[in-house]
Symmetry: C2
Subunit: 414 residues, 2 copies
């Protein structure tokens, strides 16, 4: 911590109305450049990368291949789908030669003509590609911190299939499971619900994953019997829970954040670009598609909203920037040596350790910082503890305090 120059702040910045950004700025995870545009400081980038790792592992487990598409999109591609003129939140840039580009808010317009170069037969299907990449959207109300960005990192997966509806449906269900795994590993599984949403003009439903919290901008109707929900947009058209058939009257209205969405696109984009394949019988058919998104910054902000308390952040283990936070109290040679060696030994065991080795900072300020920063396990090394040959261990989430000898700490993580 003495090397990391970012600092915690006592006061929430006046221009932050949301809990998530307020705490993340105070704890030194992010910095606001302008509304909906945030810098990720070293601590925040560690969390973002942990979220990336979870998502990447679950996408790879689906057999999807990772690629990386550009943010600068030629106008022609967006004209082909008609969205150049209809998408209000599209940032547009013109270069000196007069060529126009969109800054990509999504990538159907890019990936469809790309896969067209590689797909020609039913033998090339199914296939799925994803990326983790920065998107742009001209948000007018960017007041929710990391929940609604003008520039935001997103995972977008696109799947390509033959016209076999059943095969598509099985794949779509596998993605649902992958999404459940992601939200469970990110620590919000219990409050995140598969939610039925509009399928647009061509599918019966699309699906959202909605996390219940008062900080949410969305409203959903949750079925306590089976755990699925219906979103605000289509509730008027439904008579019963699409999950278990329970009566609509039994659904509970709650506020929520949309942390992911999955969408059967059918042939909407294949048609726009003429993405077809030759089937077994020699006929040409349009490729069936699905698209599946997760905003990483929004997910990070949601985790904050769910787990923070009055003292500060509290990270679930898989996304935490560090697993252990050593707080050294006092600066005698003895305490320094004990804390330094614990830091070294835990680090050598591949443990991610944050070490408050700062001088000239009071014990109270160090404790407050450790609670604000929210690493799951805080180990306090003080003169008193060292004399007793043990460390004080505090679980951030529960506040539980216990005492452990060094070999117990090392064993627990070895």
């Amino acid at each position: 911590m003495s090397e990391l120059r970012t600092r915690t702040r006592k006061e929430t910045p006046k221009d932050e109305q949301s809990l998530n950004a307020g705490l993340l700025v105070r704890a030194g995870y992010v910095d606001k450049l302008s509304a909906g545009v945030y810098s990720y400081l070293p601590l925040g980038l560690r969390v973002l990368k942990n979220i990336e790792t979870i998502i990447r592992e679950e996408m790879n487990a689906l057999g999807a291949h990772e690629l990386l598409l550009p943010a600068l999109h030629p106008k022609e591609n967006w004209e082909k789908t008609g969205r150049w003129g209809t998408m209000d939140d599209l940032y547009k840039v013109t270069d000196t030669s007069g060529r126009e580009f969109a800054l990509g808010p999504t990538h159907e317009e890019i990936i469809v003509p790309l896969v067209q170069k590689f797909i020609s037969s039913y033998k090339d299907l199914p296939t799925a590609l994803y990326q983790i990449q920065d998107k742009f959207r001209m948000e007018l109300r960017a007041k929710s911190g990391l929940l609604r960005g003008r520039e935001f990192r997103m995972k977008d997966l696109y799947s390509f299939h033959t016209d076999d509806e059943k095969a598509f449906s099985l794949y779509y269900d596998r993605v649902k499971e992958a999404y459940k795994n992601i939200f469970r590993r990110a620590g919000i599984g219990e409050v995140t619900h598969l939610t039925f949403a509009s399928g647009g003009s061509f599918s019966e439903y699309s699906h959202e994953f909605q996390t219940i919290t008062d900080a949410g901008e969305d409203t959903i109707y949750l079925c306590d019997a089976c755990g699925v929900a219906i979103n605000d947009e289509i509730i008027a058209t439904q008579t019963k829970c699409p999950g278990c058939g329970a009566d609509k009257q039994s659904l509970r209205k709650v506020r929520s954040i949309e942390v992911g969405n999955i969408f059967p696109l059918k042939t909407k984009f294949s048609e726009a670009f003429g993405l077809s394949y030759k089937d077994r019988d020699g006929s040409d058919k349009l490729v069936r598609m699905g698209c599946y998104g997760i905003g990483l910054g929004r997910l990070m902000g949601t985790i904050v909203e769910i787990h923070a308390d009055e003292k500060g952040l509290s990270w679930p283990s898989e996304v935490a920037p560090f697993s252990t936070h050593i707080v050294r109290i006092g600066d005698t040679l003895h305490v320094r040596q004990e804390a330094d060696s614990l830091y070294t030994e835990l680090s050598h065991r591949n443990e991610d350790v944050f070490y408050d080795d700062r001088d000239d900072v009071s014990a109270g300020a160090k404790f407050a910082d450790s609670e604000l920063i929210g690493v799951p396990r805080v180990v306090i090394v003080s003169e008193k503890n060292v004399a007793k040959g043990e460390y004080e261990v505090k679980e951030r989430a529960t506040g539980t305090v216990s005492f452990a000898k060094k070999e117990d700490l090392l064993r627990a993580t070895g």
Copy 2:
């Protein structure tokens, strides 16, 4: 390979004038979206990530901290340095409320006001922050494939120091060594030279790292005696080699690609934003800065230019997308089993293995693809080899062929 849908091409696309992009497109590593704007396909992204890893390790070894800054930069920040009006290649966007943003081609305008929030005393210095992030530059001549992009991934490091010139100089020299390590690990160390360049109006020199190749757009004057060079821009002002003092006449004029540059910024940007610190004696002083860049796509393109031959790509080991490429020739059950089990066993040893398990592709086409794709070690599993109980092993770079038993292959990588 049967799962990866990207395909190799026999012909170089007509719109690719450069060797690097021509080969990378043919081999299925990248796809051109528009001039200077490329998609990284799964193979290309693997190489890009390997380059990222090398750079990240060397930056972390310097004690620099990684962060992630936005691409959308408020106009005000660029007005403060006067570059909003003077930088011709700045992409500008306006949102519906009339607010203007630049798409960041570099990040001094963002990082200086950011660190201002965390630096106040000489005790907070030195510090260094870096990111690996996508930049935008309105290039008019984007004809060199990955060497010159309109959108490109870059590592940019910024260091912050007190006014102690000697301490800055020592740090600057450490970055030079880190850069040499990066280019050595990326396989172009022997042809990459520290090159003296203009220091602008405020420093005597800045430095470039120039890789000698006829594909380069730059001209440098190389001193064969000591290995340093002088760039075209300042050669007229120099009388001797700044490395060893050799006479200017002995320098050799060669073409080259600038793969990195490092720049002592002195207080140019600190002054614009008023970034100062309180010194030991209580006086306020401006922070001294350095900035250090490497374009990742350009580095990837340069590696191609240096190592490719008439058969295709040839990757140095640390950047290669895979370490071993198993080519299965024939589709009898026996050959399949042998190749499948070799793939599984090498993969379990954490080897990155590319496996040509495609049916309906001739042996000749498979060999040609393996040479085009350029994985360092190709292992051929054919009926003939299997009968002899050994595999044919071909080094891509040298063409050397040897034969090895399975246990030798597994041992070599274990």
